[in-house]
């Protein structure tokens, strides 16, 4: 029971932090079409966050709702992977982070469709349709920018090389992940990782980008609450209202 609560928090926080990051680009996208896309993706992820955190709160049974789980927990209690808290950076960084996330997210939701927990399967069934659309878009942009000008190619390659070290954690399972796999509530890491590497490889080949080594050194710890320095600043902004005016409602 406890493992499932933790697992749901991870899914909720992954979607929430990436949504918050993308929301910060509202009105600052490099083109109007991109601005709308970033904020629409942020909106989808926020909707998914609510479904995961509401379920987590109900499962925990201590009366914590989605808002309390989102706005009244500190960085070390956040369970998102480090990938989603990496800075927006240049547009190459934003899109490469999105592409890595979308690829993993798409295959994870596909796996969760078969979860032994019917409510997880229902949420995944909703999320996978949105994830498919997100992945088509981010993969398309990786190709267009990677196989674009010398400058866009160089930036995309640099972004891929920088962010690659945060992709290992997606497939590094701990006791919580393994308990979920044992319950047939979540897919195993090996199949997910193989699907991820295959899809990234296909898109990178089309984008004329060099794929970083799958055996490279990988960062870890986000899922256990050990974060990069960026998360604290993200939470400071996101949680301000609830911290300053506890219990405030619209």
């Amino acid at each position: 029971m406890n493992e499932k609560f933790e697992y749901l928090l991870r899914q909720g926080y992954n979607a929430l932090i990436l949504s918050q990051q993308l929301s910060r680009l509202c009105g600052k996208g490099p083109a109007l079409e991109e601005d709308m896309a970033l904020t629409n993706v942020a909106l989808d992820l926020l909707g998914q966050t609510r479904m995961w955190l509401t379920y987590a709160g109900e499962l925990e049974g201590r009366g914590r709702d989605e808002d309390r789980l989102a706005f009244l927990r500190d960085a070390h209690e956040y369970r998102n992977v480090q990938l989603v808290e990496q800075p927006n950076g240049s547009y190459a960084d934003t899109m490469m982070r999105q592409f890595f996330f979308d690829t993993w997210h798409y295959f994870l939701m596909q796996g969760l469709l078969k979860s032994s927990d019917p409510r997880i399967a229902d949420i995944a069934g909703k999320a996978v349709k949105e994830a498919t659309y997100h992945l088509r878009r981010s993969g398309d942009l990786v190709v267009r920018l990677g196989d674009g000008t010398d400058l866009s190619h160089a930036r995309m390659q640099a972004a891929a090389d920088d962010l690659w070290t945060y992709t290992g954690e997606l497939f590094l399972y701990d006791d919580i992940d393994n308990a979920m796999v044992a319950q047939r509530a979540a897919p195993a890491a090996e199949g997910l990782r193989a699907a991820f590497l295959e899809h990234v490889g296909e898109i990178f080949a089309e984008a004329t980008l060099a794929m970083p080594s799958p055996d490279a050194y990988m960062q870890r710890g986000g899922k256990q609450g050990r974060h990069t320095e960026h998360l604290g600043y993200i939470l400071a902004e996101m949680q301000f209202l609830q911290r300053a005016y506890p219990g405030v409602e619209w």
Partner: protein
């Protein structure tokens, strides 16, 4: 047992008059988001399903459904949200699609399974819509401008013949 004064058909008809808040020409029934209507004693239970998980119109839709039924004299109305099976544009009625087109929004031109990535895995590009025509001049000579539009459910296209931009209700 007392017979119910209002039939389910009547409730469905009333719901057919509740407009989507973003696209007022289509009703929540034609949009396919009302999944069930049932009596539970003297309480009318309406089951709705969200379109996109973050769609901000959902709360407005739930409120307007409840308001519409209360205004017509139903004393007890309860709304239930159901996630599965996930909403798809395949559930949109033909009348709804025609209303969208008349309003200047090209209706979904594919079956959702073909673009869901569930059948053949995800490809970089979705298969092109079979029936994506300009809602103004009817030309099939159209081009995608932006994958996202003014609401989560739409994309932006332009017609290369009459040169007008138009919204496309994405197949989902």
């Amino acid at each position: 047992m007392k017979t119910q004064p209002v039939t389910l058909e009547q409730v469905w008809a009333w719901l057919g008059e509740v407009a989507d808040p973003e696209i007022p020409v289509i009703s929540v029934v034609d949009l396919g988001i009302v999944r069930d209507v049932a009596w539970n004693g003297d309480e009318c239970v309406v089951t709705v399903t969200p379109t996109y998980s973050g769609c901000p119109a959902m709360q407005v839709i739930a409120d307007s459904v409840a308001d519409a039924l209360r205004l017509r004299g139903l004393p007890k109305v309860r709304l239930v949200s159901r996630l599965s099976p996930a909403w798809t544009t395949d559930w949109m009625s033909e009348a709804g699609k025609a209303a969208l087109k008349g309003y200047g929004i090209a209706p979904p031109g594919q079956q959702a399974i073909d673009i869901s990535g569930l059948r053949a895995g995800v490809k970089r590009r979705a298969a092109p819509a079979l029936d994506l025509t300009c809602p103004r001049c009817g030309s099939r000579h159209t081009e995608l401008v932006s994958q996202f539009g003014s609401t989560p459910c739409k994309a932006l296209y332009k017609c290369l013949d009459c040169r007008e931009p138009f919204d496309y209700f994405k197949c989902h």
